[in-house]
């Protein structure tokens, strides 16, 4: 019997060899670019030098977690972890409600043309890289030639320029502001789409019952988009440490970080970047990356647990 099913299977397999070939190509890609690097993590625990190449990954000596001890004892370790967590969490807390509010506001616009212009305009910043955001910011928020400071000084509101881009105290606020600017319009697309799926008779019924616009927004629109809200929230909490909805935290911190605000702008990823690429301490950088991944996974698991507690459904 078994031989028969096996050979049946083989016949079926051969008949769909083209499909299997397509998947196989995908698997080859996975093997090369996703799984092969996984084995490389082992160098986080070793004295590895890039000069020894691939063979070095296997031959180099284990070093009793030396890199991890070095990282934990690094005098800025607590600062890095604090910044990483604060930036991720505050960005999510700000950008997520903003996207919902923006979608609700846009939904109140009756004029079709105005609505579509506003929507188009609002996700313009999403397509601009952080490099450009930084360059533009220099001239809008900068100390020496930023027009905000120029205007405020002309109006006599301030006597010395506000160091938006170069102050420890300003960085968290700056990061939140820029993330809002960059992602609000884009993230609102999903909510706008699900608003259009809300049954219009519900609005009519609510209006007949005497509900004003605010109450219709609160009692009809919001509950209508709640499933989309929960899904997007859980996905974003999962991706939070990587930057979540606000785009990459790394690029933001790397571009806007400088000597004057490094106490609040440096995060684990920028540190690992500097160590690995600029200083050539590859094994150490891998260990730092690994710490970040561990925190990330812990956050995914705990947020998923929280989502299940609150809404009854999580990602896994």
């Amino acid at each position: 019997m078994k031989a028969v099913t096996l050979s049946n299977g083989w016949v079926r397999y051969r008949r769909q060899w083209q499909l299997q070939l397509f998947v196989f190509l995908g698997l080859v890609w996975l093997l090369l670019f996703s799984w092969a690097p996984l084995f490389g993590i082992v160098i986080a625990f070793k004295d590895y030098s890039i000069r020894t190449g691939v063979a070095g990954i296997f031959t180099s000596q284990f070093n009793n977690f030396k890199h991890f001890v070095t990282f934990f004892n690094y005098y800025n370790f607590a600062t890095l972890v604090r910044n990483t967590l604060i930036l991720s969490v505050t960005k999510l807390l700000a950008t997520f409600p903003a996207a919902i509010i923006f979608a609700l506001l846009l939904n109140e616009v009756r004029n079709k043309a105005a609505k579509s212009v506003m929507q188009t305009v609002s996700y313009l910043p999403h397509f601009i890289s952080w490099v450009l955001v930084y360059t533009i910011s220099l001239y809008i928020l900068g100390e020496q030639n930023g027009i905000i400071n120029e205007l405020l000084q002309k109006m006599g509101l301030i006597s010395t320029p506000i160091p938006f881009l170069s102050s420890d105290k300003m960085f968290y606020g700056l990061a939140i502001f820029l993330s809002l600017w960059k992602t609000t319009g884009w993230s609102a697309i999903i909510f706008l789409a699900s608003i259009t799926n809300v049954d219009p008779t519900l609005y009519e019924a609510a209006a007949v019952d005497g509900a004003g616009r605010m109450r219709r927004m609160w009692h009809v629109t919001l509950p209508g988009i709640l499933p989309a809200v929960v899904t997007v929230l859980v996905i974003n909490i999962g991706a939070m440490l990587g930057g979540g909805m606000g785009g990459s935290n790394f690029e933001l911190s790397y571009m806007f970080g400088n000597v004057t605000n490094c106490n609040t702008s440096s995060i684990i990823q920028t540190y690992s970047f500097t160590m690995g690429l600029s200083k050539g301490r590859f094994a150490f950088a891998t260990a730092v990356d690994l710490c970040q991944s561990v925190i990330s996974i812990l956050m995914v698991i705990s947020s998923n647990w929280a989502a299940k507690k609150i809404s009854g459904s999580g990602l896994f």
Partner: protein, 289 residues
Amino acid sequence: MRRTRGDLLIDIIVYVLLIIFCFMCVYPFWFILVSSFNEGHDMMLGGVYWWPRKFTTDNYATFFAQTSWINAIKISVSRTVIGAIATSLFTCLVGYALSRRKLMFGNTYRFLFVFSMYVSGGLIPFYVVLRLMGLLNTFWVYIFPTMLSLYFVLVGINFFQSIPESLYEAAELDGASEGCIFLRIVLPLSSAFVATLALFSAVGQWNSWLDSVYYVTDKQLRPMAYWMISIINRTQTNNSSQDLSGTVNLTTMATQSTAVIVTIAPILCVYPFLQKYFIKGMMIGSVKE
């Protein structure tokens, strides 16, 4: 519906808030555009907000006279075009194969792809792998590692499964090969998905600079975004000496704004046209959840 005073008040609040937000989204770009058409030294005096005071196209002339930029634009354009096409085709192909119900071991395969989305070896091991494959310092290091978008494979599986099975059966009866079905049935039926995917990977390629920092040392292979960064870094070091000499880099702003406009322009030209597709495409992923 009858409009009350409360309605009017809400309208006013809504419009005011939205207009402020939209102004904030657009004005920075407008300001940079103005600055790129204004004479550099004049711009530094301040006071130019809405319209160039001393109109000039010299900034652009100077910009395009530099051959290094021309080469960078070539690299950026080719990686964007080749990358977007390769990513779209390959991702659709794999997503389509994984979406077929008759695919043997389908569940195992799908699990492998989802699993891979959540794990990453980190930068250094990845670097070593690329080095092994001889991809470092080649143009292809921009293309191959991003050729499969796992997120879009998953979205694609959902999307392609909405194509009725009977279409496939009819095509198979007519003796169509899988490649033929993919090219002549699946792709044409999935224009919203393909357009979204292509736009995302094109914008990603166009804006990407980190991979050039990581994997490339050859100057001839640097894209636009990379040179933008190096311009900025140069300005930052210059800023420190600005107080001493006062006249340093007076036209840096002109160069930078010109570079910003040149970088943004292609995206701005393309995206209003693709907009209706990617709104549809974005919804594909969310509606299925």
